[in-house]
């Protein structure tokens, strides 16, 4: 942590709402000189050590991982922008990436520099005061890639003097943080068989941890760890166990070979137990259970992996033998409350799960959106799918639909309100079988789905959930369902976007909207907060641009 960082952290910890003590003019000048020295010194670039990542709460001016810290809370300790002044927020700058399609990135900010990604595997570094680019990296992607669900990227990891990116052609790339120059570039898998990376990696110790995408192509999922210095692969955990491994018996015949279970969203890390918590996605084919009888481990599960070895300590499967594309890839948020070490996840299948972090044991599973697929729970308390929920040839309606009650949009947990905030939708889909043979690199769904007209209008919400009870404390209904993630801050605020292009600040306690700004672009990203020169900013990607907001 830099000297400047420490000073700023202290200032913010004091709280923006309190009056600052009067200082003499000479004192002020002295502070200014010191500040200038530290400010320029900062641009000589401080290394982002693993220690800094573990103790990221000490430097709230920086946003150093996809979710802001290792716990996945997406909570900012900054409180200069707060419930008393949020209505004064203004746009400070806009950076147009020039990319088209869905912009899903969460930027990182370290010591005044923002690092982010855009579609088609573009990465860039900006002066976080002004939004002016310092470098731009554009990967030359093969013309024959066909990634599912858009040519998207959710962001970078940073460690030492490098930033790390997964690419659409299934490579992991290390870029020099000062120049964007490629330091190393390794292929994790063959993109022609449907492998790709869209996830923001997680840097842990000296490793870059990353999960593969490709559940729609029948890949065999995995989570990899690469040496941050060299790019050498240190471990791989296959999310579908091979012959002789425990869990292999949960697959029929050879179905495990194309079993899916991708790992396309960023997990979390517990430095105390040295465990990585990484969620997995749907079994393949995504919407057809025929031919893969069994639970299909470890699809739609949360995995606890030893960070050094990649060995699995425990797993919890949310949806067994999934036939509705309900990837469990939502961020597993570490919550410590009442002496308990928990993980909370608002799952795509419509239930909010709380697990014991040490054992993976289920503590509670409560409905937080419209569901029709389950009306019973097993002995452990896990919701069990009704037989009638399976897709049929003529098609029938199941809630939630294939897009889920929530999806990749990042949630937030605010330790001040002890509430979990998540973007949710009530949409039911008609699921109709459409068997497809496996063919390498081809779509492998096994069923069709589309929104059920009878279930209109499709409603979208921001929901505040009490993780202890699963109760929805408040909800804000959007005009239509959105893909925006959510941020909470120490200023008593929750930020999120909507499908109509608004960026909105809410009172975290009541859900009352306090401020909004029309960005004119769809929101598929999650907000983050940072500070430079003692000023707090809140940033979000929308349309083809990154927006930064602050007080006038």
């Amino acid at each position: 942590m830099t000297g400047r960082g420490r000073r700023e952290a202290k200032a913010f910890n004091r709280g923006g709402r309190k009056e600052r003590p009067q200082r003499s003019r000479r004192g002020l000048l002295y502070i200014c000189i010191c500040f200038a020295v530290v400010f320029f010194a900062d641009h000589t670039f401080a290394q982002v050590t693993f220690e800094r990542l573990v103790h990221s709460a000490k430097e709230p001016q920086n946003w150093m991982t996809y979710s802001g810290d290792y716990t996945g809370k997406r909570f900012s300790g900054l409180d200069q922008v707060n419930i008393t002044n949020a209505r004064a927020l203004v746009a400070k700058w806009v950076y147009q990436t020039g990319a088209t399609g869905k912009l899903e990135t969460t930027p990182l900010v370290i010591d005044g520099i923002m690092y982010a990604t855009a579609q088609d595997d573009r990465a860039f570094a900006l002066d976080a005061h002004t939004g002016r680019p310092i470098w731009i990296y554009q990967r030359q992607i093969p013309s024959d890639i066909r990634p599912c669900c858009g040519r998207v990227n959710r962001g970078l990891a940073i460690l030492g003097d490098k930033v790390f990116m997964g690419t659409l052609d299934a490579h992991v790339v290390a870029l020099d943080a000062k120049t964007g120059n490629v330091v190393w570039d390794v292929a994790a898998a063959d993109y022609r068989t449907g492998h790709s990376f869209t996830v923001a990696p997680l840097a842990v110790k000296g490793l870059v941890v990353i999960g593969i995408s490709g559940g729609e192509y029948g890949v065999r999922g995995f989570i990899d760890a690469y040496d941050a210095a060299t790019g050498e692969r240190k471990w791989r955990f296959y999310t579908v166990p091979g012959p002789g491994e425990p869990g292999h018996e949960s697959w029929e015949g050879d179905s495990w070979k194309v079993g899916g279970a991708p790992a396309w969203n960023t997990g979390t890390y517990d430095a105390v137990t040295n465990q990585i918590f990484w969620p997995t996605g749907n079994p393949a084919p995504s919407n057809r259970g025929e031919g893969r009888a069994g639970d299909n481990l470890y699809s739609n599960s949360l995995l606890a992996l030893d960070a050094d070895t990649g060995k699995m300590n425990w797993y919890f499967q949310f949806t067994k033998h999934d036939e509705h594309d309900w990837d469990a890839t939502q961020v597993p948020v570490m919550i410590d409350t009442g002496g308990k070490h928990l993980i909370g996840q608002a799952n795509r299948n419509g239930f909010f799960y709380v697990l014991d972090r040490a054992t993976g044991k289920l503590i509670s599973a409560n409905e937080y959106g419209k569901t029709t697929w389950s009306d019973t729970k097993d002995a452990e308390g896990r919701p069990v799918a009704k037989k009638e929920a399976s897709p049929t040839l003529e098609g029938h309606t199941v809630c939630p639909g294939a897009l889920g009650t929530t999806n990749f949009m990042a949630p937030t947990y605010d330790p001040q309100t002890a509430l979990f905030y998540v973007t949710a939708r009530d949409q039911c889909d008609i699921f109709s079988t459409a068997p497809q043979p496996y063919e390498a690199g081809h779509a492998y769904y096994g069923s069709a789905y589309f929104p059920s007209e009878e279930a209109k209008p499709y409603r979208g919400f921001l929901k505040a959930i009490d993780p202890a009870t699963g109760q929805v404390k408040w909800r804000f209904e959007h005009t239509s369902p959105t893909w925006s993630g959510v941020l909470s801050t120490a200023g008593g605020l929750v930020f999120s976007g909507d499908a109509e292009g608004n960026f909105i600040a809410f009172d975290a306690a009541s859900g009352k909207p306090l401020w909004h700004f029309q960005m004119g672009g769809a929101v598929y990203a999650a907000p983050m907060a940072f500070a430079v020169d003692g000023k707090e900013y809140v940033a979000i990607a929308a349309g083809s641009a990154v927006y930064a907001f602050g007080l006038p």
């Binding site: 459409a434 081809h442 209008p457 499908a499 608004n502 909207p513 769809a522």
Partner: protein
């Protein structure tokens, strides 16, 4: 000598270019010739695979059996507005139709795009369905036009080819893009499936023709249809085609309804035969 060599090189180059040009022309014409052929035409197995591809990629708008889903046209009709040959159909599936809701292959951002082979499978499937499609009912288009602009009062709210009202959806192309059943249903049960209005790049779903009633701060009631809406503002057209641009937090009340502003036309108001005539008119315009 040097110049002579250059001349020689130039003449050789010219010969090579001429040959290449001829070769290219030949290749291009050969390619065009090949383009007219669906490599899977008439292949029953390909049609079956195409049916599944269709369900996954097309049924959202065109219905499970390609008979239209209320948004996309009925593809079992032998005569299609945008596609005549198999090649046309391949192009439309690959590239979409600009200015319509038909997207290019793989661009809706939700799923995986199709390979060329899979697109040909879908073309083959659609062709196989055409054979089975029942004959379309035909009404009297001229009489339908009279009714549209006369006794049936359709043109009070709907415009066709530049003539008519603005409150309801413009209907010039509806006969070419909606199924016969969907048009009948929207007249008989206008609230069952609200028509789509404005489509925005930012939104997953288009604005629907919802009814809205608001009370302004000066206690003025406005009733109309929603042109657009977000969490903080609403844009309304009232029955006299007046546009109201309103901030929601300044309204005393704001009520939306999925009861269509269009009256329900039962058989007591519009006979089945007269409705068939109006549909025939819309189809005659929409097929142009």
């Amino acid at each position: 000598m040097f110049q002579k060599q250059i001349k020689l090189v130039v003449s050789q180059l010219a010969a090579v270019i001429t040959t290449l040009t001829i070769l290219m022309l030949f290749c291009v014409s050969a390619a065009f010739a090949a383009d007219d052929l669906n490599p899977l035409a008439g292949d029953a197995k390909a049609a079956k695979l195409g049916e599944f591809q269709f369900r996954i990629n097309c049924a959202l708008c065109h219905g499970l059996g390609a008979r239209g889903g209320g948004r996309g046209p009925d593809l079992t009709r032998a005569v299609k507005k945008h596609t005549h040959s198999d090649t046309d159909m391949f192009q439309v599936i690959s590239n979409g139709i600009p200015g319509t809701a038909m997207p290019a292959n793989g661009t809706n951002g939700q799923g995986v795009g199709m390979t060329e082979e899979e697109i040909w499978q879908i073309v083959t499937y659609i062709r196989s369905q055409e054979v089975k499609a029942p004959a379309q009912a035909t009404g009297n288009a001229d009489h339908g036009k009279e009714l549209f602009y006369g006794d049936a009062n359709c043109s009070t709210c709907h415009m066709v080819e530049g003539k008519g009202g603005r409150l309801g959806p413009e209907l010039t192309s509806v006969g070419g893009s909606r199924t016969h059943e969907a048009i009948i249903d929207s007249v008989r049960n206008p609230s069952r499936r609200l028509a789509w209005g404005l489509t925005e790049a930012t939104k997953e779903f288009p604005q629907e023709y919802e009814s809205v009633t608001v009370m302004t701060a000066d206690r003025k009631e406005i009733k109309g249809v929603t042109l657009n809406e977000d969490s903080f503002s609403v844009q309304i057209m009232d029955a006299s085609e007046g546009i109201h641009l309103l901030q929601k937090n300044k309204l005393l009340s704001f009520q939306k309804s999925r009861q269509s502003a269009m009256p329900k036309y039962g058989v007591d108001i519009l006979s089945d035969k007269d409705l068939e005539d109006i549909v025939a008119y819309l189809v005659s315009v929409g097929a142009k």
